[in-house]
Symmetry: C2
Subunit: 194 residues, 2 copies
């Protein structure tokens, strides 16, 4: 209900007033971030409460549904991504795009929940996706206009490609990097007809 800054969607959940309660709230968010990272959207809520060192009841008071909790985590990640897009605006087109994609990877590399959510649908996830796209899309557009990236691919395509590639497990970081490099070369290539 608060006014919302463009590109920074808000969630219905409210941080509590009392100091101890705020500590718990934050601990829950942090624990949830980790748990969703490790186990995806299906992470056990009781486990999250345990990690946060609070009772299950406290989790449910702060986040009445699993969706509320997930949304709260998600919105934080997305806000960081939006901020990153601003910061990188100064770099040359291709470098800016790649740098932003790497931040994106920085999330989903460890946090497959975010990547699962590319498909899921809820009022607020949609709004988050829009914010994220609004932040990142111009970077792709600029790289395309200046001829650094092929033009027959959309931002959504690109994000899914990157999400897919980096969401998988790899033998080591070097391999992940190699594969990502190949895909980025594909993004740079002239479209091929055969």
């Amino acid at each position: 209900m608060t006014d919302k800054a463009p590109g920074h969607p808000r969630v219905a959940v409210r941080r509590p007033q009392r100091a101890d309660a705020r500590r718990n709230f934050d601990a829950l968010l942090q624990a949830a971030r980790e748990a969703f990272a490790e186990h995806g959207t299906d992470a056990s809520l009781e486990d999250i409460a345990r990690r946060a060192g609070v009772g299950i009841g406290t989790l449910y008071r702060n986040f009445p549904t699993r969706q509320d909790l997930f949304d709260s985590v998600y919105v934080g990640e997305v806000e960081e991504l939006c901020r990153a897009a601003d910061e990188l605006a100064g770099l040359p087109p291709w470098e800016a795009l790649v740098a932003w994609l790497r931040r994106f990877v920085g999330y989903i590399g460890t946090k497959r929940a975010l990547y699962e959510s590319l498909n899921r649908d809820s009022d607020m996830i949609r709004s988050c996706r829009e914010a994220m796209y609004a932040a990142g899309e111009p970077l792709l557009a600029r790289a395309q206009e200046t001829g650094y990236a092929r033009s027959d691919i959309g931002f959504d395509d690109l994000l899914r490609m990157i999400a897919g590639i980096t969401g998988t497990g790899y033998a080591d970081d070097a391999q992940r990097e190699r594969v990502l490099g190949v895909a980025l070369d594909g993004l740079r290539a002239r479209p091929s007809g055969g």
Copy 2:
């Protein structure tokens, strides 16, 4: 313990003797194939038994552990992939490689269990992976030697890239195809230094 044909690994599980029991065995395999496809490795065994129209006890007699069941499904898929590699040997290098990768995608597109298993480790999964690599690797090698594919990427890299890209959800098949095309262009591109 039986002799194993090269490229066609075997499983410890044995198909039962009696006709009715064989029907159940086959129904279980089929149900498991579907269930693993939909829910990944964590599919409910009780659900698989239900789908197959048999009691849970029957499932456990045929496949004492979840791993046994999964292995049995997996080995079937891999054998098909190995066969495909033989069939495609006649095509030109690049076409053969791409065609085989498409078959590979044909699996993991619907069956994410196979793709999860690229990482997992067990005696027999390892042996399956070896068989699959033995079948597919020559296709990449040939494309590389003839200059159709870049040489700074390994077969394992390629498979993981493809698995990652196609394991994700897409808005529609056209998008999946577009993204796959970009990645394949990357595979064809000269390595880039910047």
